[in-house]
């Protein structure tokens, strides 16, 4: 694993499906057989993506949703270029916590791009009842960088969500300039000391 150009952090209440989303995106699989297990602390995954003719290495932090880890989650926001805030459209309480995540994020990382992600679309399409009205979501997502309704089970919109994030980041000149700088910096450091990696 080498350096990451972009740091993406996943936020959201427990049981909305953050880990499933990352697994679908990184490993292209969804295991409906495994029962739900909460994430302990946080998990890190990396993947290379292409945008605008460039190869970009993105690092994804999948954070724990449980309240117990809340104060710890803050250290994952730091330096994040983009955040995906997840909610489950069929669970009103997961939406209620959204405002909290956003406020937390803004205090630590003001310029972070924020994407809203409704999860478990496959359930919504079949028989579950929507608890979060669409017009509220629409109003709310206006001030943010994007809104996607995804299904980790079918893979619907997952690739699109992450592609949009990378495209937005690449289109951000200031950000890209910093990325280029840190690449150069890292190359220098690696010549000096090959045993450490910074991200």
């Amino acid at each position: 694993m080498s350096r990451c150009d972009f740091k993406i952090v996943l936020l959201g209440s427990e049981h909305v499906g953050k880990t499933s989303l990352v697994l679908r995106f990184v490993n292209c699989r969804f295991n409906s057989g495994t029962p739900y297990q909460n994430t302990i602390g946080a998990a890190f995954c990396a993947k290379t993506m292409h945008s605008n003719g460039k190869d970009l290495n993105i690092g994804i932090w999948d954070t724990a949703g449980s309240e117990r880890y809340e104060a710890m989650t803050r250290m994952y926001y730091r330096g994040a270029h983009a955040a995906i805030i997840c909610y489950d459209p069929c669970c009103a309480s997961s939406w209620a916590r959204l405002r909290h995540w956003l406020a937390e994020l803004r205090t630590v990382e003001e310029d972070c791009k924020v994407y809203l992600c409704g999860t478990k679309k496959d359930l919504l399409d079949t028989n579950s009842t929507r608890e979060v009205p669409e017009d509220i979501i629409a109003t709310y997502s206006q001030g943010l960088n994007g809104h996607y309704l995804t299904s980790s089970k079918t893979g619907e919109n997952v690739e699109e969500l992450f592609q949009k994030i990378v495209d937005d980041c690449v289109a951000d000149r200031d950000l890209m300039q910093k990325v280029e700088e840190s690449r150069v910096q890292l190359a220098k450091e690696q010549e000096k000391d090959k045993s450490y990696c910074l991200c």
């Binding site: 990184v26 302990i40 998990a43 449980s66 309240e67 990696c197």
Partner: protein, 552 residues
Amino acid sequence: MASTSKDGVPDGDKVAGNLGDDLEPGACSDSILNPEDTFEEFASELTPNLQERNILTAKSSTISEIQSEIGECSQLHGTKSSDNLQSKDESISASTSSSNLLEQNGDEADDKDDYLRSPELVNKEKHVFILSSAGKPIYSRYGNEDKLAGLCGVIQALVSVVEEQNQDILRSISTKDCKVVFLMKGPLILVAVSKSNESETQLVMQLTYAFNQIVSVLTLTQLNRIFEQRRNYDLRRLLSGAERLIDHLLIFMEKDPAFLLGAVRCLPLPEKSRENITNAITSTCNKIRDLVFAILIAGNQLITLVRMKKYTLHPSDIHLLFNLVRSSESFKTAESWTPICLPKFDATGFLHGHVSYISEDCQACLLLLTVQRDAFFPLSQAKHTIADKLRRSNCLVAINDALNRNKELPTTNPLKHIGIPEIRHFMYKCKSTAQLFTSDPICLDKLQDYRLRHKEGGDITEKKITKLSDIEHVRKYRKFCSQIHCTSTPAKLIFRSNSDDTILAWITNGFELYVTFDALMEKDQAIRAIDRLLHWIKREEERIFIMNAPTF
């Protein structure tokens, strides 16, 4: 059932005379594990001492000690106190929303009584309940603790009546077929209701483990503070997701003799392979200053443990790590960065753990534990370097062979290799290193079987088991274990024979040995067999045990 330790005493001298104290397979002057026994600690929980109760404050913080030793600048990285998961005090006082369960359930008194008779709860071999000292349900092994508010109220009342009226502590209640054991730890009350043959001390041990599991996810500091601020706090809010760890731990304790003996199982490996693995870790990690422990484990067995000088781990902390890894599928799919409190090491703060499996084709899990909360990336880099080195030196193959119980290994089927047909099963603990070896090294499939069987409910059944494994033998050894570890009149050697089998239990300064023979085994015959057994263990000790204590 003639179970007499007296009968065995003369023979005990003979055995000792024959073998001498010099034969202590696996003994090693320097141990990675803290070999200090905890049996007395559990037993002392049963002797009332009201004053000492509730004073549950850890002495000094080992983590701060390490931080100051490595010159950690507290302003830069934040001291341990800022590591608290719940740093915002207001969030505790504001968290009334879900804490009114007691009141809600109070209205449904009739339903509640029915619930206690529901199949979810009736006819279980062992229940474990955890509640706050205010009587709020926190955990129940079976059923839904929400519906047990009434029962928890009764438990709390029993505890507080004994405490207030008699100035005493309620330790246990015995009925004809059932033992109820109470453990008051800090702000929590833990209760085991058991119809199994476990002794009170063994039940206290299990409750202590359950308590330590809670401390492991919250730290003792945080646990105490929460209840100081709000005596009525509903701890389930903070423990959500950790119930699974307690569930697994309780099952784990029933089947693995490692808990009974306070020892750790090691994965048997050729001496050279273990040395290569240890070297791969030390050579990669010796520059990482804040790394306290690097631990490689597989299938609830220790492969190697490299540590910071001066610090060792207690077996019970390792058991909690085994439990964490074993019960978390998510470690298999990504690198995790996890706060872990090891109660015996330092109950007041978190270590930060980089947890990941070595590779997709090897079920060994590497834990790198540090005091530095921002160290993820250097540790991630180190893990990849270690994995590469292990692959190049063929260590992954050696680990897989041991895990898959390759038939060519002498440790795969020890009884066959030793060639004493009368021995059905044995377990051996080396006391100086707190390591354990049994004739039935746990293989992964068997663990899975046990778990599946247990999922069906843990009901008491009269099942005839055809082939006995460790799991069934643990039940048989329990009584012998408690006689040997009895604090008032401990037995040194027990020889018991009946129509089913013959069991010999023997404790010396260097080891503990439990052997099951065929029925009607003669004593002198048994002693000759044990002599050969000990020599075999001695011959294989480098493979079976970790015989050194590497540091960074």
